[in-house]
Amino acid sequence: MNHRIVILGAGTGGTLTANRLHRHYGDAAEIVVVDRDDRHVYLPGLLFVPFGLEEPERIVRSRRKQLHRAIGFRLAEVDRVETAGNAVRLADGSSIEYDVLVIATGASLLPEETEGLTGAGWGEKVFTFYTLEGATALRDALRSFDHGRLVVNTVDMPIKCPVAPLEFCFLADWYLRERGVRDEVQITYVTSLDGAFTKATCNRELSGLLVGKNIEVVTEFNTGQVDGEGCKLISFDEREVDFDLAVVVPLHGGAEFVSRSPGLGDDLNFVETDPHTLRSKVAPSVFAIGDAANLPTSKAGSAAHFQGETLTENVRRFLAGEELEASYDGHVNCFIESGFRKALLIDFNYEVEPVPGRYPMAHVGPLPLLKESRLNHLGKLAFQPLYWHVLLPGRDIPGIGAQMSTAGKQLTAMQQGDE
């Protein structure tokens, strides 16, 4: 009898998992992918839209067309997962039974969770660039912005691509300088964390970047309210930051159906997932990948890519009645665009923080880690075609291993000043 594998979500994780599983099973498994729409947005491209460096229509493709022809694609809203009956209940009342379920529904923005954020000024002087619509509207607002206070605010963690708000600051610095108005604009990065970066080594190695670009940082600011009329952010402990233009990254949460599926998710609806096997902590036939999972690593496409290998292998093992392998190590890497056609690259996992070194080959590189370079910028630009043609089809990128390597890395940088 054929296995039926149901995958919820056709973003990065869902698509590459479906394609990998299809390549393994061929006709021996029926694979069904469910998503609510057919628009797959290349999310890293959103960062460039506000600065006119990327066209909105160039980063959207059909979800269905990224899946192998033999994979079923169903447009539907999910109501809940009934883990006891191995079935997904859809909003139209129908159900799909599964032998294995993969939850890949990503992270959604919850701007309504912050008082006033979607109220007065939303779409006029308060924006987010985390959606295509938001990034496009912000582009139009930035074009005529030539003086005042530009405030970039991360409301809470976790967020998708935690370095993106900082990259936004770096690119804004470049963009305003190119337009000759940088001296008229004050750029402030306001974060709920106690440092600009989420990683201690990055804070030590990279704080000079912010100083050099004259970007002010306000830390431990937990935004309780956005006052669009008074043009200020107000924290829960009643501190205020004034703005003329605010770019806010709202609170993130998992998919709503998770809250209607008892025991599956945490208090933000991210799926409670074993960090090494990627299996649900409560349901043996349920797995999660990418942003949808509550893994203690960054929410990033590279993480989903590296998880793909472990997930596919563990789905195979589960269906064959074998023991799962605990092989995902938390590996993530990210290019950090720093403006003026330069970028940094960081590479880390659950245990090892980003440190200096070379990537992907020890000592040889060619990409330097934790250091600005033009080559890293070119790497970031080169990534979009790789995304559509290598990563989503579920192929491995030559020379890029799923497990993090420490070869050629200066691990001593991690110990300096560690608590």
Binding site: E113, D156, M157, P158, P162, T198, E220, N222, G224, S235, F236, D237, E238, L251, D266, D267, L268, P296, T297, S298, E419
Partner: protein
């Protein structure tokens, strides 16, 4: 990891002073940890949060986030910041004698 004396009893704490074994905690310790962190006296509202933290941790194995506290504990987020200044989820966890909440990345 080190051992300190709270309310006359030795307890194991991490580098930031979070208890590692919640069962070593006593109610008397809460006041002492609070005072060491600039909270002079624990009110009924403080206790509502502390009890909620312990109940959640002992029931689920992880400390509730600030969002959950605001929604479920009966104390709104703004008031949490007044009761436990700076980082309510962290400070309340410390006073409630449970390990430091897992940081978000």
């Amino acid at each position: 990891m080190s051992t300190v004396i709270y309310a006359g009893r030795p307890v194991e704490v991490d580098a930031e002073g979070f208890l590692q074994q919640p069962e070593q905690w006593t109610e008397q310790m809460a006041g002492e940890i609070g005072r060491a962190n600039d909270i002079d006296a624990l009110t009924e509202r403080h206790w509502q949060v502390i009890n909620f933290m312990r109940k959640t941790y002992l029931g689920t194995g992880s400390a509730p986030s600030i969002r959950t506290l605001g929604k479920v504990s009966g104390v709104p987020i703004k008031e949490l910041y007044q009761l436990f200044p700076k980082g309510p989820a962290k400070l309340a966890a410390k006073i409630a004698g449970i390990p430091k909440p897992r940081g978000c990345i």
